[in-house]
């Protein structure tokens, strides 16, 4: 790790000023400090954003809930209101890392975390994501990598929260060039779909301030993931679903897959297919057929297809219960 300055910002505007010219925002630091120890990130200055007012709160309002960027993953997992209103979100938060990590990791940091591709994470490997010419995963050890990509890099998005927040149609408030902009989850990650060097659409000075989740009466949500370990492990594939269920039929359905693409992976075509359908095995199989039809498995990640199919079925069936 290289020497760096450390400052605490008291307002979002001053944080943005302080981070200019080679600085990085520091929330929980779970992802950033790992990158600094591995010499992947060498910021001149860390701008502590944990003192920003109002960013630690979960605000329940009639039409939307607002979660501040510094709300911890553990807070989300344990919040009784979230467990009741957005159960999929509470489950997704509970699957992040270990209890120690969840107590420190923040909502903003979870959304903005960088690739876990082992080639990217190795300090001596100069891959596409770091500005090199080669994606070593394409013909290398690609067990954890993507089934879909819009560019060449096949490192998948690993944020659990992004997957369920997309199903919940949440918006992310970002401070960008002095103005607050509200991005959908697809907008937040689009940069990683089209550009090998991006982990998301955030620019160097962009700061996530919070997430707004719309309240839809009687909306159900679910999240499931499959990992190699039961606790403290990354998902191999994750799946989130949300929708209304009337007489056993789905309405306003949203189905999203995680860890299969550089972005949370969803297709409007799938949501249209699911509209009005009964929740059963054949509906789930039909949705999986459409969602996975263009999958391009690499040498070692073909198992993600049957895994995704199983998760889609289980997650949809969970909406029915």
């Amino acid at each position: 790790m290289k020497p760096f300055d450390y400052v605490t910002a008291s307002t979002p505007a001053s944080a943005a000023d302080l981070v200019a010219d080679g600085g990085k925002y520091l929330g929980g630091g779970i992802d950033l400090l790992g990158e600094m120890k591995e010499y992947l990130a060498e910021p001149k200055r860390l701008v502590n954003i944990k003192a920003l007012p109002g960013t630690h709160e979960i605000k329940e309002e009639e039409h939307a809930w607002n979660l501040g960027t510094n709300v911890t993953v553990a807070q989300i997992a344990a919040h009784p209101g979230i467990q009741k209103k957005f159960p999929g979100l509470a489950v997704a938060a509970g699957e992040v890392g270990s209890p120690q990590i969840r107590n420190v990791a923040t909502l903003g940091g979870n959304l903005a975390q960088h690739s876990r591709c082992w080639y990217y994470r190795h300090r001596d490997v100069y891959c596409l994501k770091k500005g090199g010419d080669v994606c070593f995963a394409l013909d290398g050890e690609n067990k954890i990598h993507s089934l879909f990509t819009g560019c060449t890099c096949v490192s998948p998005v690993v944020s659990n929260l992004a997957i369920i927040l997309q199903a919940l149609e949440a918006k992310v408030t970002v401070l960008r060039a002095g103005k607050q902009v509200r991005l959908t989850i697809p907008e937040l990650y689009h940069g990683a779909w089209v550009n090998d060097e991006r982990h998301n659409s955030l620019g160097p000075g962009d700061l996530i301030l919070g997430v707004e989740i719309p309240v839809v009466e009687d909306l159900r949500s679910a999240y499931l993931q499959m990992s190699e370990k039961h606790e403290f492990d990354w998902a191999l594939v994750s799946c989130a679903a949300a929708g209304l269920v009337e007489n056993g039929k789905l309405h306003r359905p949203r189905l999203v897959l995680g860890v299969v693409a550089p972005v949370p992976y969803a297709l409007q075509e799938v949501n249209r297919f699911l509209e009005g359908k009964p929740i059963d095995d054949s509906t789930a199989a039909g949705a999986a057929d459409i969602l996975l039809k263009n999958a391009s498995p690499l040498e070692h990640n073909g198992y993600k297809i049957p895994l995704a199919r199983a998760l889609i079925r289980r997650t949809l069936l969970q909406l029915a219960t």
């Binding site: 990509t149 819009g150 697809p186 190699e228 370990k229 403290f232 999958a295 498995p297 990640n301 198992y303």
Partner: protein, 114 residues
Amino acid sequence: MVLNANFERYKLPCLADIPEIDIVLMDMPERGVIGVGEPCHIPTAAAIANAVANALGVRVTSLPITPDKVLAALGKIPNPQSKTASAEVEAALAMIHNSQPGSSGSRREDSTPT
């Protein structure tokens, strides 16, 4: 030789992965005091592999027994797209195209998420 770069991918089971353990006290004074630390490691993986084989009907012959190996043993993994020579050339061209500044080449445009 250990190939894992770190403990993120060298996976150690944690409490949630460990089944309930039965402890049986052996009253065998004729044996005296003996160590039982290492001997338990020898049959454990084999016993688990046997249980998995019993459940699946097929054997997984390498450790750790991960979801990808189980699905492969069951024949559930679709064949990876066979890489033809022309696909290799196409990939190489795409790579060259992508490395030019200002270009945004796309290998799999038809799967763009919406």
